[in-house]
């Protein structure tokens, strides 16, 4: 417990690291985070497919200084993941977030999953589209987690998915594959 409080106090302390220059929102460890994440993502078939698609479509990938989030900026062809400043982002977290962000970008070229450009399609259909997009991205993240675990037996990626609240999806995905194979 005292170790935990020591870690907490270290994180709360002012001036604990060098602040990136003003005017940039990019994380100081962006290159290292992306390098580790893309290398690991490529070990999964689904992840490799997303990376190949991103390369073919000249998508940029960035790590922003922010609390955990990820997404796609359609006007800029930029996918982003985020990590708090001054912290190393666990690679397994970066991989899962990057897979989600890349799939969100890919949805723009997937019939039925494009981002609605107007709310005039009606509230119900507008919400339905965003729910479908969300579920689709989550399905890809689950596939990546499963394939990576099968390929590397890296338990941390399952732990991270559980921390994100999606372990039941992972179990359901695994069960689906098992019943489909039998």
């Amino acid at each position: 417990m005292n170790d935990l409080i020591a870690k907490l106090n270290k994180a709360l302390k002012f001036g604990g690291f060098s602040v990136p220059r003003e005017g940039t929102m990019r994380h100081e460890n962006e290159a290292a985070i992306l390098d580790a994440a893309t290398k690991m993502l490529r070990k999964s078939e689904t992840g490799a497919g997303l990376l190949d698609w991103a390369q073919a479509n000249s998508l940029e990938m960035h790590v922003l200084r922010n609390k955990d989030s990820f997404g796609f900026l359609p006007g800029k062809s930029v996918v982003y993941i985020s990590a708090p400043a001054g912290q190393q982002m666990p690679t397994v977290r970066a991989v899962i977030h990057l897979a989600g962000a890349l799939r969100q970008a890919q949805q723009e070229q997937t019939p039925g999953l494009e981002r609605p450009t107007t709310a005039r399609i009606g509230k119900e259909r507008y919400i339905r589209t965003f729910v479908d997009k969300d579920m689709d991205a989550l399905y890809y993240q689950t596939a990546v987690v499963h394939e990576l675990f099968e390929a590397t037996h890296l338990g941390e990626i399952i732990d991270e998915f559980e921390r994100m609240g999606y372990i039941s999806l992972y179990e359901a995905y695994k069960e689906d594959l098992r019943s489909g194979a039998s």
Partner: protein, 206 residues
């Protein structure tokens, strides 16, 4: 719990803020057509406000928070340093009445490698309460005390006592808050033990 009074800015002001803050080597992350700027005063800052930029073109919507005096914009990026910068510029005015709000704000915008930190104002509002056993839920509600604040004149700092959640652990913690906004946990005890009973302390809550 602090309730923020958000005000939406018009498109012109939103555009000005976007131009000011979104200069990156990759170009602006926000556009005036798909983004919204809102501001909220904070009770412990003088001359600085919380500015929130939201880009609704992304899924989920992309949000960045800043502290600003209208000319400087300090991105709240999960580290404590932006809050330090504002304090160094004389923007932080702490008192008995606002120091608990400051601690809550600080924890909301500073993240640790072990995860987020939550002050617990009301156990009923804890998002993870349902994941605990009924016995643990009862123990937490029994052990819970409201946030308490005191000013230590001899040492010139505030003492804030509160229940908090950090790294999967429920704690009763005593924090010192310096006039410059620096926070340190100086004493703690488990709010409940692993068996659901009240936890042991490290000397303070005897």
């Amino acid at each position: 719990m602090m309730i923020l009074n958000w005000q939406k800015l018009d498109r012109k002001k939103t555009g000005e803020i976007i131009n000011r803050v979104s200069q990156t080597p990759d170009g602006p992350l926000f556009s005036t057509t798909t983004s919204e700027a809102t501001i909220a005063p904070l009770p412990f800052y003088r001359g600085f406000m919380l500015v929130r930029l939201t880009n609704y073109a992304t899924l989920p919507s992309f949000t960045l928070d800043f502290l600003s005096d209208g000319s400087a914009f300090y991105l709240l990026d999960g580290a404590p340093d932006p809050l330090q910068k504002v304090a160094m510029r004389g923007g932080l005015i702490l008192s008995d009445h606002n120091v608990a709000d400051y601690v809550e704000f600080f924890f909301k915008h500073v993240t640790t490698e072990e995860g987020d930190i939550y002050l617990i104002h009301n156990p009923e509002d804890m998002p993870f309460l349902d994941s605990l056993s009924l016995d643990q839920q009862i123990q937490i509600k029994r052990a819970h005390t409201d946030v308490a604040v005191a000013y230590d004149r001899d040492n010139d700092y505030f003492l804030v006592q509160s229940d908090m959640y950090f790294a999967g652990t429920l704690l009763k913690a005593t924090m010192t808050v310096q006039p410059d906004g620096q926070i340190e946990v100086t004493d703690h005890a488990m709010l409940i033990g692993s068996n659901g009973g009240q936890g042991h302390n490290n000397g303070y809550y005897a």
